[in-house]
Structure formats: structure tokens, C-alpha cells
Amino acid sequence: MKIMNCPLNGPRNISEFVYGGQVKTMPDHTLSSDSAWAEYVFYEKTEIGLVLEWWLHSPSSYWFIAERHNGSDEITRTFAPEAIFCDRVDFKTSEVPV
């Protein structure tokens, strides 16, 4: 079984983890254009190489970030999301729907 190292629980079988999509920066949905929002929702980095991804350790419901090679499947590092996401993100709510 392939092993992934969970930052909270240590090395575990890959079957304990759930893939959660690439790490992307969410645009301000109240201001972004349709095309920018579509870009955020539908498009991922497709080059072969290292990608940053969200992963969930399912038994502990713990979300973290993994750096993985999407061609060789090698997991190069895993870390707690606090390393990137330190602050709560709030978007202004617009008065009029855009």
C-alpha cells in the first residue's frame, strides 16, 4: 500500500486519505468576473510536475496540504494548512448582486 505522511497522525495507508483538489486562491466572488470565477472553479494546473493539493485524513477529519508529483505520484512533503492560511478570509458582501 502506498503511504502518505499525515502531519497530525503520521505515516498511514493512502486508503485513509481523501483527495480534495488543488490549492488555489479564491477570487473575491463579489467582484470577480464570470470568466475569473470560471477559471477558479473549473481550471487546475495541468502541467506535469509538483502540485500543491488539499488532502483529508478521513479517520481524524483532518485537512492538510500535500506537495505531490502528478506524474510519478511521489509525495514530496505534507504540512498543516496553517503554514499558508494563517488568517480568516472575509469578502465584502455586495449590496446589489453583480
Binding site: N9, R12, S58
Partner: protein, 187 residues
């Protein structure tokens, strides 16, 4: 399940009635509760319950109460000698950053004891639960036969046991798996 009755009326002593090999007891009706949030560990201290310093540990907080840490913000309080009641509803959760966690009804609690328990669990679980790698006080959040579970190694009445917590919805299935895995260790 055919041997349902045999399981639900477990022997009073955990393992010796089973030739020392393996016993599986259902402690679902025993008291447990939890707290969650950034203030969870300090809240536990206010209740005079010691909490582990690191995630995935279990310690004896007072005479008969075990406190298990699942992360830096989530703790379960286990009282294997007390019948379930409405705890923690009776306690004060008005403080910021602390939320009650109702693991009493969400999870089943099985207690596995006996010499061969780590050997039996090796058939079902990817984590090495032998005592040299999973000492008393260790907790693993992992899977048993692909079902999410929490396994804690501690003692009940001086007996070395695994407490296994499984979501209610899959507990009946997992119990069947456990009983099946136990078969080969019974004389």
C-alpha cells in the same frame, strides 16, 4: 447476528474467561463525552481533568477517568465505570472557544483485551499496534477493515486493553468483522 447474546452479556472480567486469548466487550452504554475548540484543554483543566499535551495520546486524568486527545483542539473524556448520562450537557460551555462534543451517541465503544489482541488487529488495521510500537497511552485514528475508527491503548482495572470507537452507522458491520477475526485465536 447469531452470537449476539453472548457478546452483549460479556464476562465480568475481560480476558481470563476467554482462555487469555481475546475478549471483545461492548462498552457503548458507558459514559463518554468530548470538548472541542481552541479553549478545550484549558476548559478541561478548569474541570480538574488533566489533558495530554500532544494529539493522539490518552492519560488517566483522575482515578477512573481517561482523557484522550485527538488533536490540539479535540478531547474525549472516557469513564468506563460510569453508566451513560447527559454529560456534558450539565456542564458550563458558555466560555468562548469551547464546544461540547456528543460522542456518546455518535460512536460505539468496543474494548478488546487479551494476549493476542495486537496480532488479531494486524489482520484488519494498517497501524502496528504491538506494544513495542504502540505503547500504553498511544492513540491511533485509523481504519479497521476500511472503516474509520479510533484505537486507544490504556488500562481498565489494570488490564491492558484497546478501546475502539466506531461510528454507529458502521459499527454493527465492524463488530462482525472483529468477531470473525477473533475466531482463529480462540481455542
Amino acid at each position: 447476528m447469531s452470537d449476539d447474546a453472548g457478546l452483549r452479556t460479556p464476562p465480568t472480567r475481560l480476558s481470563s474467561d476467554y482462555d487469555g486469548a481475546i475478549s471483545i466487550q461492548d462498552k457503548t452504554h458507558k459514559r463518554r463525552s468530548g470538548v472541542r475548540g481552541i479553549g478545550a484543554s484549558s476548559w478541561l483543566k478548569q474541570q480538574n481533568l488533566a489533558a495530554p499535551d500532544t494529539p493522539n495520546r490518552i492519560i488517566l486524568a483522575d482515578n477512573k477517568t481517561w482523557v484522550m486527545s485527538l488533536s490540539n483542539r479535540e478531547y474525549w473524556v472516557l469513564e468506563p465505570h460510569e453508566d451513560a448520562d447527559t454529560f456534558p450537557m450539565g456542564r458550563d460551555f458558555s466560555e468562548d472557544g469551547v464546544y461540547p462534543l456528543f460522542c456518546q451517541s455518535s460512536h460505539r465503544w468496543f474494548v478488546i483485551a487479551g494476549e493476542a489482541k495486537a496480532q488479531m488487529m494486524a489482520k484488519l488495521c494498517g497501524v502496528d499496534l504491538r506494544s513495542e510500537n504502540f505503547e500504553s497511552g498511544a492513540v491511533a485514528q485509523t481504519q479497521l477493515a476500511l472503516v474509520n475508527c479510533i484505537i486507544a491503548r490504556h488500562t481498565i482495572d489494570d488490564e491492558d486493553v484497546f478501546s475502539v470507537f466506531i461510528d454507529q452507522s458502521l459499527a454493527e458491520y465492524t463488530l462482525e468483522v472483529l468477531l470473525d477475526a477473533r475466531q482463529e485465536f480462540l481455542s
